[in-house]
Amino acid sequence: MHHSTAWRAVGQSPWKFLTSSWPWRSFLYLLTGGLFGALVLTVLAALTLAGVVSLVVGVGAVLLLGVSLSGIVVSRVERRRLLLMDPDPLPDPHRPPDGPGARGWLATRLREPATWRELGFTAASLAAMWWMDVLVLGVSLGVPVLLATSPVDDPGAWPLAVLAVCLVPVAPYTITVWAGARAAMTRAILAPRDGELGRRLTEVRASRARLVGSFDAERRRIERDLHDGAQQRLVSLNVLLGMARLDAEPGSSVARQLDSAQEQVGLAVDELRELSRGVHPKALTDHGLPEAVGNLTARSVLPVTVDIRLPHRPPAAVETAAYFVVAESLANATKHSAATRAEVHARLHADVLTLSISDNGVGGADPAAGTGLVGLADRVAAADGRLRISSPAGGPTLLHAEIPCR
């Protein structure tokens, strides 16, 4: 289940979508795609032709080698372009060269499957996707222009001009939907395969360590606050009650009341001790995600619509990760976004828990700026999942997490 955030954007209210940055980003994505495709097509066609012609001389082999390695350059540009549509950067699938110099680089690249996958992508891109870019741009923008200018020759054709005006708001939808699909295909083909992920796996491990570390630090802080604050206060209160108990007439009603007060305070101290031993929502352990999120949203200042339907309980680690994603993104929404509404939506599809939290706030949540989003990404990464965020300035903000339940 791969939702492109672009497609999610299309599903919003028309006004919101049309005033968001999505149509423009999609337009830019297709426009640069068309221009870049034209450039690549020209260069590669010329190189191939020159290479075939001069193959007799020997230079042709070098040119053809260049053509076969062109995917590397094209894909690098494509990965950069993809950032227009998807805030989650695609990692570079290539290994560092095994040997020094151009020879080492060449030997490494020629042996890598990623190189040939990228060449295949380039071919597919030129043969199909590039045409589609041009076609979609042409149709969605060209047709309204043609219709609008038709009354110039034939004044009787004015209804066509009205139709053109009606077609203008449709164009952004066509463009965004295709751009979303194109970005998804690019990601699917150019994403590093597991074998190429050696480096990224260490990254996940590192973030796991960071996650556990930050979590522990937080737990320690809470425990210490409880220890130095509420617990000491309650214990000293109980000492005071114990002293009062000495002054009370044995067997009197005051003595009895002090006894039960002491007992109550003692229970509170015990509970606090339990609490500070493990800060974790009990409802999550006992009843699962819907209940725990329900409790969370019941306490939330922000009105939240919860729609969580899971056929069975996911593993505890997944639940916990999901719970914290919800808890922290709602906290962020409450604190920073000036939102008036938020939605939590979770489903289990083919062993992947998909979770989305959206709010109608001002957006502009920047993963690079705050540690909060990075922390969430760490939590999700620790569960081998993936977290993406779309938060254009002006809103809305959408957090989308996919956590596998293995």
Partner: protein, 215 residues
């Protein structure tokens, strides 16, 4: 009898409570400190009858009080030390009880202070050279499923846990409403079942029991 006490506790509230309890029962506080270093200085200067200290306190907010207690005991092997803690940790209890049997040792949950008379009783017993262990420690120890303990009858377990708290046979008899002779019989049965030699001194017996349970 009135004891001179050095008290180390970093929480002002808790310190006031402890001072209130101790002075009410006629003990004299010769120093009240809030960190481990001052505790050591104060004990060297004052030579009190007993030290009562919290575990977690400045400078490190870890087990500074406990470390200070251990250091003090190395300096003055007969110095009675009573340690209070928000949580009971087996390892802390073990480190305290390993201090040797020259002077009294106590390890109690802080909550126990609120049972004022029992707390003051524990202070007196530690000052008199006995070993006092929090019932919670004992409960945790007895909760561990160990084969030799399975051989004990419920009554014997009860007696063992009271023993482990450092109570003498007479006190155990009063607590369980049985004769001292009956307690004696239970104790020798327990020691036999646990393969422990009968030993005259109460806290030696505790150390043996705890050492056995820790194994």
């Amino acid at each position: 009898m009135s004891l001179t006490v050095v008290l180390a506790e970093d929480s002002p509230l808790m310190r006031d409570g402890l001072v209130g309890v101790l002075t009410r029962f006629g003990h004299r506080l010769v120093a009240e400190v809030g960190d481990a270093e001052s505790l050591i200085t104060a004990v060297r200067a004052r030579r009190p009858d007993i030290v009562v200290t919290d575990i977690r306190m400045p400078p490190d907010h870890s087990d500074d009080g406990l470390r200070a207690a251990v250091a003090l005991r190395r300096e003055h092997p007969a110095l009675p030390v009573l340690v209070l803690s928000q949580y009971v940790e087996q390892s802390y209890a073990a480190r305290l009880l390993d201090l040797g049997s020259d002077g009294g040792v106590g390890y109690l949950l802080k909550d126990r202070v609120s049972a004022v008379t029992e707390f003051v009783d524990a202070v007196a017993r530690v000052a008199a050279g006995e070993t006092v262990v929090d019932p919670e420690v004992v409960r945790q120890l007895l909760h561990r499923q160990q084969d030799p303990l399975q051989r004990l009858t419920p009554r014997e377990r009860e007696v063992l846990s009271l023993m482990a708290e450092g109570r003498a046979n007479a006190a155990i008899a009063r607590q369980l409403y049985v004769t001292e002779a009956a307690v004696n019989k239970h104790v020798s049965a327990i020691l036999q079942k646990l393969d422990l030699r009968v030993d005259g001194e109460g806290h030696r017996r505790v150390l043996a029991v705890l050492a056995y349970l820790r194994a």
